[in-house]
């Protein structure tokens, strides 16, 4: 799967399609995206993951298992609870084997975990991206005092340990507050500093360009200049970085569970599976490899998809895609 995922970008956009006159920006975007095979495969994988998450009850019903039932008969109690049988107890009943110590079905936990982890990570990422871009742009474009104020406010958040922050939020948020929202909120608030710094740095470099000056002269206010002239140029780092925020967010969710901010047991999440699986890396490697592998595929798919989107967003991509690749194709050499 990953081979296909990593397939080259060189199947990329065609100048001919990219520059077909008369089509709108969005149409051109799709056209450029469609020509990138790797991105399409990655997009399909992401879609599949989301689908798996949504269809978790269905899939587990198909397997005939559920994510919370204990199967003590499938583990060896005297040996610390390792699954009996080869490959971590994989069988026709338990497709991916069972969890050490409890014997809960790993396939079921993995697909149910996708709901929590993808949900939390995606919401949190959106939050981080929105906050990061907002603050980064404002501080990059604003005067030096606004910049100073926002940058230092970011520093405060960056310097605050997650634990302290979560403790504080837990204390002020009423108990009835929906847990998943709280989790996403905390994870989101924890992690937007990096994005803000990146956006600010890029903004500062970009705003020296004349087209930004031109937009200013056209009469646009700061926000519109940001949206029209800067955001498209920021798409590259933002998309790239966002894809990598997802795995971080998935692990932060797990870390937060110690403070009672994470999802409640026995609900499964990839992050929590990873944290409890890491000690089993020798005794029951598949227990670690499953969530880690899934996470890896997720990140890889998101990254490749992000690359594709980024490329498709750039009208100059057509020329870029081909520079440096071996030789022009037949008849395309000059």
């Amino acid at each position: 799967m990953s081979e296909a995922l990593l397939a080259s970008e060189s199947g990329g956009a065609d100048a001919a399609t990219a520059s077909a006159p008369g089509s709108s920006g969005a149409r051109q975007f799709w056209r450029r995206l469609r020509t990138q095979r790797a991105a399409l495969v990655a997009g399909a994988i992401v879609a599949l993951l989301v689908l798996v998450a949504l269809a978790a009850p269905l899939l587990t019903a198909l397997e005939g298992q559920d994510p919370t039932t204990y199967h003590p008969e499938l583990i060896d109690s005297a040996r610390g609870g390792v699954p009996v049988g080869s490959f971590g107890g994989m069988s026709a009943e338990h497709w991916l084997g069972v969890e050490p110590q409890t014997g809960r079905d790993l396939f079921a936990r993995l697909v149910y975990g996708a709901r929590v982890s993808l949900g939390v990570a995606l919401i949190a990422t959106v939050l981080q991206v929105a906050l990061g871009i907002g603050v980064g742009l404002a501080s990059g474009l604003g005067n030096r005092w606004l910049d100073l104020a926002l940058s230092r406010a970011t520093d405060v958040l960056v310097a605050l340990p997650v634990m302290v922050l979560a403790l504080g939020l837990l204390a002020v948020v009423p108990t009835g507050f929906p847990r998943p929202v709280l989790v996403a909120l905390v994870v989101g608030i924890v992690g937007w500093g990096g994005m803000a710094k990146i956006v600010r740095a890029q903004t500062i470099s970009l705003k020296a360009l004349d087209h930004v000056a031109a937009a200013r002269l056209s009469g646009w206010g700061g926000a519109s200049v940001a949206r029209r002239e800067l955001l498209p140029a920021l798409a590259a780092p933002v998309i790239t970085y966002s894809a990598l925020l997802v795995p971080t967010n998935i692990t932060v969710e797990a870390a937060l569970s110690f403070l009672g901010v994470g999802v409640k047991p026995p609900t499964a999440s990839w992050g929590q599976m990873l944290t409890s699986a890491d000690v089993w890396y020798q005794a029951a490697p598949q227990y670690l490899l499953l969530p880690a592998g899934t996470l890896f595929v997720t990140v890889l798919a998101l990254t490749v998809l992000g690359d594709g989107v980024r490329t498709a967003l750039d009208p100059r991509a057509a020329s870029r895609l081909r520079v440096g690749t071996k030789r022009g194709r037949k008849g395309a050499a000059s």
């Binding site: 406010a153 960056v158 310097a159 990146i198 740095a201 500062i204 990254t303 870029r320």
Partner: protein
Amino acid sequence: MSLGSGFTGFVARRAVGAAVTLFALSVVIYAVFYVAPGDVAQITCGPRCSPAQVQQVAEQLKLDDPLYTRYFEFLRGVFVGHDYSTGTAVLHCDAPCLGLSYQTDQQVTDLILNKVPVTGSLAIGAMVLWLILGVGTGVVSAWRRGRPTERVLTAVTLAGTATPVFVIGLLLMILVCGQLQWLPFPQYVPFTEDPQQWAWNLLLPWVSLALIESAKYARLTRSAMLETLAEDHVRTFRAYGISERSLVGRHALRGALAPVIALSANDFGTMFGGALLTETLFGLPGLGRELVHAVRVVDLPVVVGMVLVTGFFVVLANAVADVLYAVADRRVVLA
């Protein structure tokens, strides 16, 4: 109002910014710990202490004073220091005095000063390594874009982000220290004592952190470089026969530095509060572990001290970053 322009102005503004940041941090932490669960006196005295004894401890630690009084005391310590009793003698804690640990009565300043070199060594080395690894990978994948080399590199760096630091670190340790015995099991040796041993022992922690962090840098570098490669000025050099490698390595890389510098400043800053897992894994007596412990036992002075140090480094790292990219990109003025 204006603090002047130029470098002195910049330094002055940053100093003000740092002061405000640190002030805000300390207030936030006092506020959080005011509302957070955990009875400090009971925890300090031990769970089996009777209410009367707990009360004694509370008095000893001045926990019954109103919050603002305690905060004011803290500020006073920072600016003028304060006297404290060891029971047998009265000692002075010089300004900036961050108070005494509730748990061990050590001076927080000493406690932190002991740990800063450890965490600093860890953070600096790791950062250097992840920059080399990350930016290097980014450069190579931008250069070899679309080729097998790039695909392999992408997969490898992303695997780093998907694997827990624990597993990477432990596997490295088993392999390098246990099986191959190329390196000793890490233990912290101060730089001042033996620079070579210092580096030798920190190598594994550095590598583990770098493996995990580098993906971000690699991807970021690569995408920023591809952006730059599309620009007109690169065409100029291409038209002069400059090889793709130098185009990528020299011209495109320079354009990618801004986000990389910004992010590493951030990560470097956070590393001061956050390399907990690495520190426990490798038994490095750094700030991260101390901080987590202090939060658990509600050792407020220690937490405040640690977070202020982190905050200081975050601000410092960002200031350095700003100077760096003003140097890298002269169109940028120091704000």
